[in-house]
């Protein structure tokens, strides 16, 4: 028998607080640099591409496609699907694919964000559209 996985509450910090506050309202934020125009994830105060500090929060559509995935078959909390999603806005991010048939997952499949509760702010996951 595997035990249900308890999700860790985000620790949060001053740099990322706005992300987690928005998540509590069901909004999925990314950061965009107004100097070079590039969006990035996870959010930083200084752009990882041009090192400008002119970064602003932007609400993502929370839609994208699966870049890759792997189904972890050996886990004390049961199988899970880890992978990367490439968002419509550009950045790719690490996540789990949830509420789906793991064996039907495919690279290129369309997915959307879904939040799952923790003892703190909710965590973003992705599920097939």
């Amino acid at each position: 028998m595997s035990e249900a996985k308890k999700l860790p509450a985000p620790v949060t910090n001053p740099e990322t607080k706005a992300f987690w506050d928005a998540a509590t309202e069901g909004k999925f934020l990314i950061k965009r640099c107004t100097a070079c125009g590039e969006a990035h994830y996870f959010p930083r105060s200084i752009c990882p591409f041009c090192f400008s500090d002119h970064t602003v929060w932007e609400q993502s559509a929370g839609e994208g496609e699966i870049y890759t995935f792997s189904i972890m078959r050996k886990s004390p909390t049961g199988p899970y699907a880890i992978g990367y999603v490439t968002l419509k806005e550009g950045p790719s991010l690490q996540t789990n694919f949830v509420d789906c048939d793991f064996d039907a997952l495919k690279i290129g499949q369309k997915v959307k964000v879904v939040f799952k509760p923790t003892d703190g702010a909710p965590l973003p996951f992705f599920t097939p559209v």
Binding site: R44, S70, R73, Y84, G90, N96, I107, L123
Partner: protein, 382 residues
């Protein structure tokens, strides 16, 4: 400015244990240090530089004190499994700069006896930790995308394990000595798609150590001369998620730097120690180092091309991490050790490469599918 030819690997030691519940981790560090010093014909009092990574209990200063060393140069660069390949390069830099003359590098630990302590969280923790990235699935994600982009197959990956097992049968210390087939690998249980159990390395207690020294001191000792002629190091991560590509590693940068410094090309290499945490690790690194073109690794490793005496590029002739030893879940140390054995002519006669005068030892550290470092050492028999 170059480190080419300015530092020699004069001592090597691989702990014979694969399971050491009756020893402390610090004790294992001391045992491998003693072994490498004896191999070189030196004593602990000769050591004036010490290099260790995250596996050393408490870090550099408790280890230096515990070992009773008196050093004038310390380096605790921590880049996971390739730390020790980076240490070789940094030791050469320190020796070339006159900061030390006899450097000791140690690795030891006991993951087979019990779980390893978690590593400290980075800035990404809140945004990644909940998703359960492990070595298995992080490398699985790379393999999945490599198969998608290039048509790489599980059978091709299996050939890497098959080659390692052919070598391991001759290593009395190897944890897995049985020769396996492609069918054995692809029929072993799926761990994290598309990687099977036999695509994964062993988990072992143990360790290893190296002595790096000046040309003058090396020439005064009795062992065959092996010198470092090229070194590279690099890092790669998702970097904000732009242009994510998990089909290549930081070896695309560390490798060319090392080859350029050495003044040779992959075609000149007679023996290759390639970090084999998983079969996919080897395949991607062979491509990244230029032994074949990107995407053609599957064809390159198939049909025994990595088996000594059979194929064109003998690799991991000790059985590697896939079959012999992967102490502390960190493969860089044993990669250097087997490369030096080959260059000295001290490998097992059944796997010894004839006229082995140029070898590469290369590895990654961290998670290939998330963020990792890579380091490349080009070694020459003088």
């Amino acid at each position: 400015m170059t480190i080419k030819g300015k530092a020699y690997i004069a001592g090597i030691y691989e702990h014979p244990t694969r399971h050491a519940p009756d020893k402390s981790t610090a004790q294992l560090h001391a045992e491998v240090a003693k072994g490498a010093l004896e191999d070189a014909g030196l004593s602990a009092a000769d050591v004036d530089g010490y290099f260790c990574a995250g596996d050393a209990p408490g870090g550099a200063w408790p280890m230096v004190d515990y070992l009773g060393l008196k050093v004038r140069h310390i380096d605790s660069t921590e880049t996971g499994g390739c730390s020790y390949l980076i240490h070789v390069g940094h030791a050469a830099e320190a020796i070339a700069a006159g900061k030390c003359s006899i450097a000791l590098i140690t690795l030891a630990g006991k993951p087979r006896t019990g779980p390893m302590p978690p590593r400290a969280a980075g800035a990404e923790a809140d945004f990644e930790m909940a998703y359960g990235a492990t070595t298995h699935n992080a490398y699985g994600m790379c393999a999945m995308r490599h198969m998608h982009d290039y048509g790489t197959t599980s059978e091709q990956l299996a050939w890497i394990k098959v080659a390692a097992s052919h070598h391991a049968q001759y290593n009395p210390h190897a944890m897995l000595k049985e020769v396996v087939t492609v069918e054995d690998v692809i029929n072993s249980p799926m761990i994290s798609d598309p990687l099977h159990r036999m695509d994964c390395c062993v988990v072992t207690d143990g360790g290893g150590a190296l002595i790096v020294t000046t040309p003058e001191i090396a020439k005064s000792l009795k062992k065959p001369l092996v010198r470092l002629i090229g070194h590279g190091e690099a890092m790669k991560g998702p970097r904000g998620g732009k242009d994510l590509d998990l089909t290549y590693s930081a070896g695309v940068w560390s490798g060319p730097r090392a080859f350029e410094e050495a003044g040779i090309t992959p075609k000149d290499i007679k023996y290759a120690s390639i970090y084999d945490s998983f079969t996919i690790t080897v395949l991607m690194q062979l491509e990244d180092l230029g032994f074949c073109r990107k995407g053609e690794g599957g064809k390159f490793v198939a049909d025994g091309n990595l088996i000594s005496g059979v194929g064109k590029l003998p690799f991991n002739t000790d059985g590697g991490g896939l079959c012999s030893n992967h102490p502390v879940n960190r493969g860089g140390m044993t990669k250097v050790i087997e490369a030096v054995r080959q260059l000295r002519g001290e490998a097992h006669p059944k796997v010894q490469v004839q006229n082995c005068d140029l070898a590469i030892a290369h590895g990654t550290g961290g998670l290939l599918g998330v963020r990792h470092a890579a380091s490349t050492c080009i070694l020459e028999r003088v």
